[in-house]
C-alpha cells in the first residue's frame, strides 16, 4: 500500500493535469476497477448487491452531486432529493413517451432535466446568499414533491402513484438481475466520478472554490459569479438527477416520489458532512458509512443488545447515533473521513518517522 512520489517527474502540462499523476495511483485505481467490475459480480450474493452495494453507489453519486454544490461552490442545498426525483421521473417519462429511446439516453435526458430544474431554483442564488438560499432549495424540495404527487401525468395516470421501472436492457443485453443492476450503477458512477475529478481539478473547480471562499473577492478578480453559481447548480442537479434515475431504476425498481423526501436530502447532506466537504473521495466514504451504520446497528440490536432495543427504539437509537456522529465530525474532524484517510496515509508514508 505504501508508495512515494519521489522521482516521478512530469515533463508536459498534460501530464501535470491528469487525475492520477503517479504510476502507483494508476495501478491502484486500475486494480480497484478490475475488482469492482470483474470480481465482485461473481463473488457477491444478491443481498450484498441489493442492500449494500447498489445503495452505496447511488448515494455516493448523490453525495458527489451535493458536494459539487455545497462542498466546492459553497451553496448550501436541502433539495438534493428533489433533483433526484426529477431525474427519476423525467427518465421514466422519456422512456415511456419516446418509443425506441435507448435506456442510457433516457438516463442522460433525466439528468439534463434535473439540471434544468436545478438551474431554475439556483437562479435566486445571485441575489440571495447564505442561509437565505436554503429557502430556494427547500422550495424546490416541496414543490417537486407536490407536483409529482398531485399531477398524475408524471406517473402516467397510475392510480397508486407507484410505477414499476422499465426493464433494464442495453444493446439487447438484459441487466435486470441484481448483478446486472450493480454493473449498470457501477459503470455510470465510475464514468461520472472520473468526469467530476477532471472538472473539479481544472478551471471550473477552482472557480467554484473561489466563489465558495469569498464571492466578492472572486467577482473582483473577474470570475463571472452568476455563471459559476448556475453551473454549480446545473452540474450538481445533473449528478443528483442521474443518482435519482439509478435509485429508481437500479435500486428500488419502482419510480415513486415518497422515498425522495426531505429526509433523503438530509441523508445526502450527512453523507458529505461525514465524508468530507469539498472532496470526491469524501462522498464515497460518507456513503459507505451511512449505508453500513444502520446495518451494523441492526446486527448489534439483534445480537448484543437483544431485548434492550425493540424495533421502535432502534430507529430512535439510529437517530441519536447519527446526530452524535455529525456533531463529533463537525467538532473533531470538520473535513470528515476523507481527511482522516489522508492523515492515515501521511502517517504510513512517514513511518518510522513521526509526521509533522
Amino acid at each position: 500500500m505504501q508508495y512515494r512520489e519521489v522521482g516521478q517527474f512530469r515533463t508536459s502540462y498534460a501530464e501535470q493535469a491528469r487525475v492520477f499523476r503517479f504510476g502507483e495511483e494508476r495501478v491502484l485505481v486500475a486494480l480497484l476497477l478490475v475488482l469492482a467490475f470483474a470480481v465482485v459480480p461473481f463473488v457477491a450474493d444478491d443481498y450484498w448487491f441489493s442492500a449494500i452495494l447498489i445503495p452505496f453507489l447511488v448515494l455516493s453519486l448523490a453525495g458527489l452531486g451535493l458536494n459539487i454544490l455545497t462542498g466546492y461552490a459553497g451553496q448550501l442545498s436541502l433539495g438534493s432529493a428533489a433533483f433526484m426525483a426529477v431525474g427519476a421521473f423525467a427518465a421514466y417519462n422519456f422512456q415511456l413517451r419516446v418509443p425506441g429511446l435507448p435506456l442510457l439516453a433516457s438516463f442522460l435526458l433525466g439528468g439534463l432535466t434535473a439540471a434544468a430544474i436545478g438551474v431554475l431554483f439556483g437562479l435566486p442564488s445571485l441575489r440571495i446568499k447564505g442561509f437565505y438560499l436554503i429557502v430556494s432549495t427547500l422550495a424546490a424540495q416541496f414543490f417537486v414533491q407536490w407536483a409529482l404527487t398531485k399531477f398524475s401525468w408524471f406517473s402516467n395516470d397510475n392510480p397508486s402513484g407507484v410505477i414499476t421501472a422499465p426493464k433494464l436492457s442495453i444493446l439487447g443485453q438484459d441487466f435486470s438481475s441484481p448483478a446486472g443492476r450493480y454493473l449498470i450503477s457501477l459503470g455510470v458512477v465510475a464514468i461520472m466520478t472520473w468526469f467530476a475529478c477532471n472538472l473539479l481539478r481544472r478551471q471550473t473547480g477552482r472557480r467554484f472554490m473561489a466563489v465558495r471562499d469569498m464571492d466578492t473577492a472572486a467577482a473582483v478578480i473577474g470570475i463571472p459569479i452568476l455563471r459559476t453559481k448556475l453551473l454549480a447548480f446545473a452540474l450538481s442537479s445533473f449528478y443528483c438527477g442521474i443518482a435519482g434515475v439509478l435509485w429508481a431504476f437500479a435500486y428500488l425498481g419502482t419510480v415513486e416520489p415518497h422515498g425522495l423526501d426531505l429526509n433523503r436530502s438530509f441523508q445526502v447532506l450527512f453523507i458529505i458532512i461525514i465524508g468530507g466537504l469539498g472532496s470526491i473521495s469524501g462522498a464515497f466514504l460518507g456513503a459507505a458509512f451511512i449505508v453500513f451504520i444502520p446495518i451494523l446497528l441492526d446486527h448489534l440490536a439483534g445480537s448484543v443488545l437483544e431485548g434492550v432495543l425493540n424495533p421502535g427504539n432502534l430507529e430512535n437509537a439510529q437517530k441519536i447515533v447519527f446526530g452524535m456522529l455529525i456533531l463529533f465530525f463537525l467538532i473533531k474532524e470538520p473535513e470528515g473521513l476523507a481527511r482522516l484517510a489522508q492523515l492515515a496515509r501521511a502517517k504510513f508514508k512517514a513511518r518510522p518517522l513521526t509526521p509533522t
Binding site: I128, F322, G323
Partner: protein, 293 residues
Amino acid sequence: MQFFLEVLVGGLFAGVMYSMVALGFVLVYKASGVFNFAQGSMVLFAALTYVSLVERGFSVLAALLSTLVTMLILAVLIERVVLRRLVNRSQMTLFMATLGVSFVIEGLAQTVWGAQVHGLDLGISDEPFTVAGILLSQFDLFAAATAALLVFVLALLFNRTRTGLALRAVADDPLAALGLGIHLPRIWTIVWAVAGVVSLVAGLLWGARTGVQFSLSLIVLKALPVLIIGGFSSVSGTILAGLIVGSTEKLAEVYLGSLVNGGIEAWFPYVLALLFLLVRPSGLFGEPSVARV
C-alpha cells in the same frame, strides 16, 4: 366577502402560531449567529416532556416547572457540548451542528417518552363562536394573547435589562463584547435557555391544537419562511411575517389551490419567501449586510 374575511382571520391566527416557533430562531440567531434548526425538536421535546409528566400524575404547575428546568439543562448542555467547541467556525458548520443536535433531541425525546400521540388539554376551549359574522375560537384569542405577552416580555428583556444589553452587544459584535468583559458562554446559555422557554410555550400551544406527536418537530419547516421574510434578527419582523405567511397561505390554498388540485400550502410560503427575498435580500426588517474583501 364574508368567506374571504373568515379565511383571512383564520390565516392570521395560524400565522401567530408560526411566529411563536420562529421567535425561538430569532433569539438564538440574534445572540449567537447560529441558525438553529433544532428549534422544532426543542418544541417537540418540551411539549412531550410536559405531557408525559402530567400523564404520570404531576400537577400542572409541577410539570411546567420540571419542563422548564429540563429546558434549562438542555440549554446548558448544548452550550457546553456543542457551541463552545465550535467557536469561530463558519455559520454553515454551526447550522449543520444544530441539525445534529435536532436528531439527538428527537431520538432522545422519543426514546424516553415513547412515540405515541398524546392529547394535551390546556383547559381552554377550542369551540368556535362568531363575532360580527366571523368564526373565532377562544383558543385562537388565547394563543394571540400569549404571543403578544411573549413579545412584550422579550422586548422588556432585550431593552430594559443589563442582560438584554449584553445580549444585544454580543449580537452586534461578539469580539467587541468580549473585549468589554461580557462572558460569551454565559450569554449563549441564557439565550438558548430563553429559546427553550419560548419553545415550551410554542410546544404547549401547538400541542393543544394538534396533539403532541412527532410531527410537531416539523413545524420548524413552517417557521422557516416566516423567519426568512421577517429577517433573521427582528422580533417584530417575525410577528409581521408570521401574519403575512399565515394569511396568504390560507388564502392561496382556498383561491388558487382549487385550480391546481390543492395542497399548495406545502410550498407556497417558500415561494412567497423567495419573492420577498428577490426584492429585499435580507428580509423585511433584517439588517442589510455590506460585503467587504
